[in-house]
């Protein structure tokens, strides 16, 4: 795309047009082309919203919104169709909470260690390993959850189903850990030296300095990292599809099989539902809920950073 232009300029010169005017035209053409590239992202957003909204709208012409949000049975792919998204939302919440209970403190702890205690060498060794952890394909993590973590958990805790949110949540904790750590490290290290020195000057110990000065000062970044991690956990698909199972189950017992919203989308999207059938449309309705939740969380995390971050100049 960019290559064309010198050619155009060259040809124009040969024809003998006014160089300056031609240049201006060429520049304008290039500017427009580049703008078009940038507009692809806008088109993507519109397409995402449109593709979800269109089918969701069709879905809610046949299914009542009240049933969708209040019923506790979700069987859109069966003969006797029921459309209550509650079990899927509960499944997602269950896996996400388990992942957060383990992953958020671990991620923050690792961030504090890397930012405040670790020497240069440790930091240079550990950071790439965390990047590798973040880069492991989720299908590999799902395999690990199903075939390694689940047997171990079933050995330790009696009555755990083969598919369960426990092992999915445990492995997902390590998926979100690098997200929390990398963003939190950045915001911890951004806390200015003067604040630290003031803290020491007041007689604070290292522990007191970190918990009373550094972490509060970096809180906006830490909270933003938590929200992003939660959003990532909610949208994660392969680990839960493989390890948490596909049967929607309205229960608060994490030993039972529980389907999440994303697992259902995979299940419905890879099944042989006829396009346009109510079963196929339910996929878009679930996606609408998922998309809304993650979008709200993403905007929230940006707001947290903008509103509450303290500028030190």
């Amino acid at each position: 795309m960019e290559r064309k232009t010198p050619g155009m300029l060259g040809r124009a010169r040969a024809v003998g047009l006014n160089k300056r005017a031609d240049r201006r035209v060429g520049e304008a053409v290039i500017g427009t082309l580049l703008l078009l590239c940038a507009l692809v992202s806008v088109v993507t957003t519109v397409a995402v919203v449109y593709s979800i909204a269109e089918e969701t709208f069709q879905f809610f012409r046949e299914v009542s919104v009240v049933e969708f949000f209040t019923s506790r049975v979700w069987t859109p792919l069966f003969e006797n169709q029921n459309f209550g998204i509650a079990p899927l939302v509960l499944g997602t919440l269950m896996v996400t909470s388990i992942a957060c209970v383990i992953g958020l403190p671990l991620g923050l702890g690792a961030a504090i260690y890397l930012a405040e205690f670790a020497g240069d060498r440790t930091r240079r060794t550990v950071t790439p390993i965390l990047e590798v952890l973040a880069g492991i394909p989720t299908v590999a993590l799902g395999y690990f959850a199903l075939l390694f973590v689940t047997p171990v958990i079933r050995d330790l805790i009696p009555g755990v189903n083969l598919f369960n949110p426990l092992s999915a949540g445990f492995v997902m904790a390590f998926l979100i850990l690098p997200t929390v750590t990398s963003i939190s490290v950045d915001s911890l290290r951004a806390v200015p030296r003067s604040l630290r020195e003031a803290g020491y000057g007041l007689g604070a110990s290292k522990f007191e300095l970190i918990t009373r000065v550094v972490v509060p000062a970096a809180l906006s970044g830490i909270i933003a990292s938590f929200i992003l991690a939660i959003s990532r956990a909610i949208g994660e698909t392969m680990i839960v599809t493989l390890a948490s199972g596909g049967r929607p189950n309205f229960t608060f017992d994490p030993r039972q099989e529980m389907a999440t919203m994303t697992a259902f989308i995979v299940q419905a999207g890879t099944g042989d539902q006829a396009a346009g059938s109510l079963g196929a449309r339910s996929l878009y309705a679930v996606a609408a809920v998922l998309f809304t939740i993650t979008l709200v969380l993403n905007i929230l995390s940006q707001q947290v950073v903008r509103r509450f971050s303290e500028k030190y100049e």
Binding site: L34, A47, F207, T241
Partner: protein, 460 residues
């Protein structure tokens, strides 16, 4: 940093003698100790994360090997070859086996060049690394694939196998001969329930073997794994179809995202006026980067597969993944462009260059390292994506490699997903072999990105 670290410790020590009461000194010591404990506590997550990566890699790698007990009389072709004769296994063992059967070198070569003959050979027989044979340890043997006396067992399945054997022996305890009776005694004395005594029990496993039994080690990951087509039989299933699918999809993704992503980045950094519209563009890109990947799958399913009627083809997959990684490419390219100092641009303008001449001759050449690194990292992310592609067609059994953008396809991660979903012990081994290949591919990409980042790193 270092200086401010030592300050409180010194402050605590100095007044310890006279100025501070014993009570207060104790409190000071406790406060210092709290800091040390805190350092250890925050170090634990780092250890856990590193350990998890290690355990995951080790477990997956160990899963690519399985063992089984086979009666040689019924299953081997009678010849075995030392491991060192064909360290990579696969084709080389076939060649050795054919030669051992008395084929001339020309016939062997003709056989090896005929894919149909090879396919039949691989469908009938399986190449196994024998752990213990009468000829010695670690030898290759070609066996018949229908001859298994025991199903494949993972390295961690030792306890399960032994307790099953114990149950069988205990059932007909009257008919046991003395040797089997002794074995039963040993088995009853062993602890077969714990998580961590599997390794100790491997020795016990060896002693359960009868005179005519051999212990096989099956490596599921060898070179032939990359060249075998897909199959419904685990032992002959290979990664070729998925590997070519991944290469096709990634090639197209690079073709689409490189110009678009860099173009958008140039626009945002160099051309975009400071107004609401530009801010909206930026906000939009940042939010797109946070959309779950499965949602892109729905977009691909609705827009490319159904509306545009491209169908579940390579092109649909490439377009879907391109939209998925575009925000990543844009963000990386913008950072690289922003790192080029504005003095260079001003110098270029000063020489009378137009905006585009400045961008193409000055800015881009100086930002190329960062851009390429960003694109490679984005591609690495796209290669590992499974969920969106499951919705746009990379699902189900694809027997033959793709031959163009409009052919049906599968990619490595979705092939792995399908193997895991088979819910079969042997397919789980195939899946682990696939995961190792995928991880190796990613590590190569990360390595290249890391190298380029170093190579092009410059300070202004």
């Amino acid at each position: 940093m270092k200086a401010s670290l030592s300050a409180p410790a010194g402050a605590a020590r100095r007044p310890g003698k006279r100025l501070v009461s014993a009570e207060e000194a104790r409190r000071l010591a406790a406060r210092t100790r709290a800091g040390r404990i805190f350092a250890v506590v925050t170090f634990i997550p780092v250890v856990l994360a590193v350990a998890l990566v290690g355990v995951l890699l080790l477990d997956t790698l160990l899963d690519t090997v399985s063992w089984q007990i086979v009666e040689p009389s019924s299953s081997t072709s009678g010849e075995s070859f030392p491991w060192s004769a064909a360290p990579l296994g696969g084709r080389e063992v076939i060649r050795l086996d054919l030669a051992a059967q008395g084929e001339t070198p020309e016939d062997v070569q003709a056989f090896m060049n005929d894919p149909e003959e090879l396919r039949l050979f691989e469908a009938r027989g399986r190449i196994e690394l024998m752990w213990r044979t009468e000829d010695g340890p670690f030898r290759w043997v070609v066996t018949n694939s229908r001859d298994d006396s025991v199903a494949d067992i993972g390295l961690f399945g030792v306890n399960a196998y032994l307790s099953e054997l114990r149950g069988e022996l205990a059932e007909d305890v009257e008919d046991l001969d003395p040797a089997e009776g002794g074995l039963l005694g040993r088995l009853q004395g062993a602890d077969l329930d714990g998580l961590f005594n599997r390794f100790a029990n491997i020795g016990l496993l060896s002693s359960t073997l009868g005179e005519d039994q051999n212990l096989y080690l099956n490596p599921w990951l060898d070179l032939s794994f990359l060249t075998k087509n897909a199959s419904r039989t685990p032992v002959v299933a290979g990664l070729k179809v998925a590997l070519l699918g991944t290469l096709w999809v990634m090639g197209l993704v690079i073709l689409i995202t490189l110009p678009t992503g860099v173009g958008a980045a140039i626009y945002l950094e160099e051309y975009a006026p400071e107004n609401r519209f530009s801010r909206l563009l930026e906000l939009n890109i940042r939010n797109l980067a946070g959309v779950p990947s499965i949602v892109y799958g729905i977009l691909g399913l609705y827009v490319f597969v159904r509306l545009a009627q491209i169908g579940p083809t390579i092109l649909s997959a490439a377009l879907t993944l391109s939209l998925l990684v575009l925000p990543v490419v844009i963000i990386a390219a913008r950072e690289a462009i922003r790192a080029v100092p504005s003095t260079l641009r001003q110098a270029s303008y000063g020489l009378g260059a137009t905006k585009w001449q400045t961008v193409s001759e000055v800015v881009l050449p100086n930002a190329v390292g960062g851009i390429v690194t960003g694109v490679i990292l984005a591609i690495a992310r796209a290669i590992g994506e499974t969920a969106p592609l499951l919705l746009v067609g990379a699902v189900g059994f694809i027997a033959y490699p793709p031959n163009g953008p409009f052919s049906r396809y599968t990619v490595i991660p979705s092939q792995i997903y399908n193997w895991i979903a088979e819910n079969d012990v042997e397919f789980a081994h195939v899946a682990s072999a696939g995961i190792i290949v995928l991880l190796a591919l990613l590590f190569v990409l990360y390595g290249v990105a890391f190298y380029l980042r170093r190579r092009f790193e410059r300070s202004w």
